[in-house]
């Protein structure tokens, strides 16, 4: 059996002296090439978990490994293996799309030719090439979301983390992003996805883990089975309850 790309054991994250931990003894494994959906209501701990796995946040306790590398001790090496699509539009809005990509690509150590080649290919693939010399602040939300993903794919990472990648955009842009994500997963990239769109998770994910109160509360092991897709919303509500989460 191949080693998991992501392995989490007994992970705990407590912010300051707050009473309940944001992540509370989480266990998780993500296999190579898998498209894992991490679903949960607001405040379930999804973004915190991604923050720890990408080395942005330090865990309070437990272990988090990416391809066998500890995300705290081997942070620099982990960063070469991963790409993050943050929940916010993580772009410099007064720079053009090309300038943003050149900057992020150079931080990843990409040579000029390779960087240009990959940036142009991804811009073309996402329909952004024609307007790539415009400042990003003049773009629509959908275009900015697409570029937000392109910036994470620039260095061709084997593992990608998506934190609500399609929030607040139009149907066309969402469809284009889903298609792109399916493509990169089909090419072998391991994807860890979080979001609130159960329908999107049904379409994209090969497996879904449901989180609540910082813990793993359930799982749909094989999303390709028809009966699982139909049950996802019911399962979600059964596991996380009907109480509003504001």
């Amino acid at each position: 059996m191949t080693a998991p790309d992501i392995r989490v054991e007994g992970l705990v994250k407590r912010y300051g002296r707050s009473g309940s931990p944001a992540v509370d003894g989480m266990d998780l494994e993500v296999r190579p090439g898998e498209f894992l959906g991490l679903l949960g209501p607001n405040g379930a701990g999804k973004t915190t978990l991604i923050g720890i796995l990408t080395g942005v946040l330090a865990p309070t306790a437990g272990t988090a490994l990416v391809r066998g590398l500890d995300v705290v001790k081997d942070r620099e090496r982990v960063h070469r293996l991963i790409g993050l699509v943050p929940q916010d539009i993580a772009l410099y809005d007064t720079l053009t799309a090309r300038e943003n990509l050149r900057y992020f690509g150079r931080l990843h150590g990409l040579r000029h030719e390779v960087l240009n080649e990959r940036a142009e290919a991804l811009l073309e693939r996402t329909g952004l090439r024609e307007r790539a010399d415009e400042q990003v602040r003049g773009w629509s939300g959908g275009m900015q979301r697409r570029l937000n993903i392109v910036a994470a794919l620039l260095h061709a990472p084997p593992i990608i983390f998506l934190d609500e990648p399609t929030v607040g955009i139009d149907v066309q842009s969402r469809a284009a992003i889903r298609e792109l994500l399916r493509e990169i997963n089909a090419a072998g990239t391991t994807v860890l996805y979080t979001g609130h769109h159960l329908e999107e998770a049904e379409l994209l994910c090969t497996r879904v883990v449901v989180m609540d109160h910082g813990r793993r509360v359930g799982e749909v092991a094989d999303m390709q089975r028809g009966e699982d897709r139909e049950r996802l919303e019911d399962l979600f509500l059964r596991l996380t309850g009907h109480a509003l989460r504001d």
Partner: protein, 428 residues
């Protein structure tokens, strides 16, 4: 690592170039400030040889003493004299009170007679001790030269007029005494004595600067020499507002989260940012030195004297160190502020405050002692001293280092605190 540092620096410069308001803030505003402040402060900086004190002169004596006083005042070159002989006392007072003239000088009608009488009394004491009156000559109040002063006139101007009058009157008295004495001796001996010129002092006064050239009697710290380095320093430190603002925006926009998942760390980001803003500081130096050399003389101000070419490396060292201190301070402000509003207010307020107490607006030496002590703690004062050491004192590297070392320490502390703050943010 170098590629990443270059990437950070390039990105910072691009962000700055796209920010038109920011460009106005770091380039146009200092240019405007240096021009306006140099013109406004030109008068206070000029020495008194520029005929600044307007004197309304009323000679009621119409004799040799009145003429000698007027001649003496004119000879100083410090006064613009208007004749007020035809005015009444009330009219003279009104003209001074209205500010048209800063000082009125009234020579009494009997001034020449009083001087002659005083001298005669002294001669009697010297040459006829047995028959002469040994009591001091009684000079009536009406015989005194009076000064009428505009209440708004600074003390130093009043002192200048009073000092000049006292010197002239002493000279007139001495000359009269000497002339009478000579006449009495000639009468006693039958000889003809040579005339003595008392206006040439036996011991003179020479003025020189501790360093640099003396420009036609002007002191070196003229308005240009003060304002060009002062506002260059202010401009460099004011980049704090942009730098800190961009840092906070980076953090709150989500870009920082992306950067934290990329190779390289806080140190590389900080070095890249410092490199970019050092270039901005050097551009500010060139712009404002250029204004001092070419623009200010067009407005009738003294041109900046940058010194011999040999001073250029020292000027560059001073500018880079001041730029480093300013950039490090901006990095610190950007690290500790949570919103752009916070960084803008904290950055601009601290820079304006540190510049005010540090002698940027007005030189430290004219402030009260207590403020001078406080001002010496300001990094902008150390910066000013560094520039003055190069531009005015023509100091060497050792003298410059005295001011650069505290700036480097200040930069080091700011950067250390920034790295700690960024690590705290990234490890939360």
């Amino acid at each position: 690592m170098l590629q990443r540092i270059r990437a950070h620096a390039h990105k910072e410069l691009l962000l700055l170039l796209r920010d038109r308001t920011g460009l106005l803030l770091v380039f146009a505003m200092p240019l405007l400030l240096v021009t306006v402040m140099a013109v406004v402060q030109d008068a206070p900086f000029r020495d008194f040889s520029d005929r600044q004190v307007r004197v309304l002169f009323q000679d009621l004596d119409d004799g040799p003493v009145g003429a000698a006083i007027r001649q003496g005042l004119e000879a100083t070159g410090s006064f613009t004299i208007t004749d007020g002989r035809s005015l009444s006392e009330a009219e003279l007072r009104d003209r001074v009170r209205s500010g048209r003239h800063q000082v009125g000088v009234v020579v009494p009608a009997n001034a020449s007679e009083v001087v002659a009488a005083g001298s005669a009394h002294a001669m009697a004491l010297l040459f006829d001790p047995l028959t002469g009156d040994s009591t001091a000559a009684n000079v009536p109040d009406s015989a005194r030269v009076r000064m009428v002063v505009d209440p708004t006139v600074k003390h130093m101007f009043r002192d200048l007029v009073r000092g000049s009058l006292q010197r002239i009157l002493a000279g007139i008295g001495s000359e009269r005494l000497l002339a009478d004495m000579r006449a009495r001796i000639e009468a006693l001996t039958g000889d003809t004595l040579p005339a003595l010129d008392l206006r040439r002092p036996l011991v003179g006064v020479a003025q020189e600067l501790a360093a640099g050239e003396l420009h036609g009697g002007r002191v070196a710290a003229d308005s240009t020499a003060h304002n060009v380095p002062a506002w260059t320093i202010f401009a460099m430190f004011f980049t704090v507002v942009l730098l800190a603002g961009n840092m906070v925006k980076e953090r709150t926009s989500g870009c920082m989260v992306r950067l934290l998942t990329m190779p390289g760390g806080a140190a590389e980001r900080i070095v890249g940012r410092i490199a970019a803003y050092l270039l901005v500081c050097l551009a500010q130096l060139v712009l404002l030195l250029g204004a001092g050399l070419a623009l200010l003389p067009l407005l009738g101000l003294q041109a900046l004297d940058p010194g011999p070419p040999a001073m250029l490396p020292l000027l560059l060292a001073a500018a880079l160190t001041v730029g480093l201190a300013a950039t490090a301070f901006g990095t610190f402000i950007g690290s500790v502020c949570r919103t752009q509003q916070q960084s803008a207010i904290l950055g601009s307020t601290t820079v304006v405050l540190l510049s005010a107490i540090g002698g940027i607006w007005v030189p430290l030496y004219i402030m009260p002692q207590a403020m001078q002590a406080v001002g010496r703690l300001s990094p902008l004062h150390w910066s000013m001293e560094a520039f003055n050491t190069v531009l005015l004192r023509r100091g060497d590297l050792a003298e410059l280092a005295v001011h650069l070392v505290p700036l480097l320490l200040f930069a080091g502390v700011c950067l250390l605190l920034s790295v700690v703050a960024e690590r705290v943010v990234s490890s939360r």
